[in-house]
């Protein structure tokens, strides 16, 4: 379970951003998690609840935006059907993940005096 160490990195990063902007508080932290990122949204949210005490995020809400996995052909760009072999039916090209592996800190809403 790596969600706890990811949350620790998240808290440190947000703390550094808050200091950098001279923020007096953090209201909201937004992250994007792909379905094939290997990070479980529920576990990430649970770890956040436990670990945020005493940090810049102590009163900040965590928003997790899930991103579906989408494969396309790496040669012609055709979308590949979910669950099928990752090979293009029209040109034979190998699949490429167009989206779904994101583990991104998107935005931090903070209170600036």
């Amino acid at each position: 379970v790596h969600e706890a160490s990811i949350v620790q990195d998240l808290l440190e990063r947000v703390g550094a951003l808050a200091r950098q902007h001279g923020a007096s508080g953090v209201h909201r932290v937004s992250v994007r998690l792909g379905a094939l990122s290997g990070v479980e949204p529920g576990l990430l949210a649970g770890a956040y609840e436990v670990l945020r005490a005493g940090t810049a995020c102590a009163r900040a809400r965590l928003d997790i935006e899930p991103v579906d996995a989408r494969w396309e052909c790496g040669s012609c760009g055709n979308e590949l059907a979910a669950g099928a072999a990752l090979r293009c039916r029209s040109c034979g090209g190998a699949g490429r993940l167009a989206q779904g592996d994101e583990i991104l800190l998107e935005r931090v809403e903070m209170e600036v005096p």
Binding site: V1, H2, R13, A84, G95, I103, E109, M110, V112
Partner: protein, 247 residues
């Protein structure tokens, strides 16, 4: 101050970041990769479930490569140094990395490990990751290639259950092929079919560390990986000599 009415309340501003939450590990991995490239070292990150045969594959690889090839290993384990001891008995200088409760190796652990392992002058470094089909896939270590061991007893649909791991694999070693004669219901075609649904460029080699079956193909794959890495280094030097700024 609030920009709307000047009331003196603090203003809430959105700060756009768009940054990977693994950025710290990714920076450390780039650092490791630069070191490995400058030493001409091919680094294999060997992952797989507990009991998938990772240690046995490395023991057999040492036998196949022979004393003329200089190899070493980092062995990640939660609690014991048993794997490291097995690899040393097989003639592979090995540093154990005991992770405690951590379920994977990260680039920082590998970097610290390299400080205790004489790695200059090696041909291959094998990193035996913690037995786990989930977390290790997320952490770039600076490796040249990811190899996943999948034993024939694990179930043909294992790749469909752990797509993140198999998506990250450059090669899957289907291990324990000697057991297939006891497993009439297990089909290699079904395993290949599962892999094709999660790996965009499935590369699969069927091996048995016990009988030696398939190990020549595995060693040929390693050597191809090694020579393509060497070509990249030479190409980089040539570009550098042509007047590119030093990096």
């Amino acid at each position: 101050m609030c920009g709307t009415c000047g009331c003196g309340d603090p203003e809430v501003v959105p700060v756009e970041v768009h940054e990977s939450l693994l950025a710290g590990n990714e920076a450390q991995a780039r650092h490791n990769r630069a070191h490995f490239a400058s030493a001409g070292l091919t680094v294999i990150n060997l992952m797989g479930a507990p009991g998938s045969g990772k240690t046995a594959v490395l023991e057999a690889t040492s036998r196949m490569l022979g004393p003329g090839c200089r190899i070493a290993a980092l062995a990640g384990d939660l609690a014991t140094e048993n794997d490291a001891q097995r690899l040393r008995r097989a003639g592979i200088p090995t540093l154990p990395i005991t992770t405690g409760q951590a379920c994977h190796l990260d680039a920082g652990m590998v970097h610290r490990g390299m400080h205790h392992l004489p790695w200059q002058g090696l041909d291959y470094l094998f990193i035996e990751n913690v037995g786990n089909l989930v977390c290790p896939a997320l952490y770039d270590l600076g490796q040249s290639a990811n190899v996943v061991a999948l034993s024939v007893t694990e179930g043909e649909d294992k790749p469909l259950k752990y797509p993140v791991m198999f998506k990250a694999a450059d090669l899957v070693l289907v291990t324990k092929a000697d057991l297939l004669r006891h497993l009439p219901d297990v089909s290699l075609d079904a395993i290949s079919d599962s892999l094709a649904r999660v790996m965009p460029r499935p590369q699969v080699i069927v091996v048995s560390s016990a009988t030696g079956f398939g190990l020549d193909a595995w060693v040929a794959w390693l050597e191809a990986r090694r020579s393509s890495g060497a070509q990249r280094v030479v190409a980089g030097l040539a570009a550098h000599g042509a007047g590119d700024p030093p990096r």
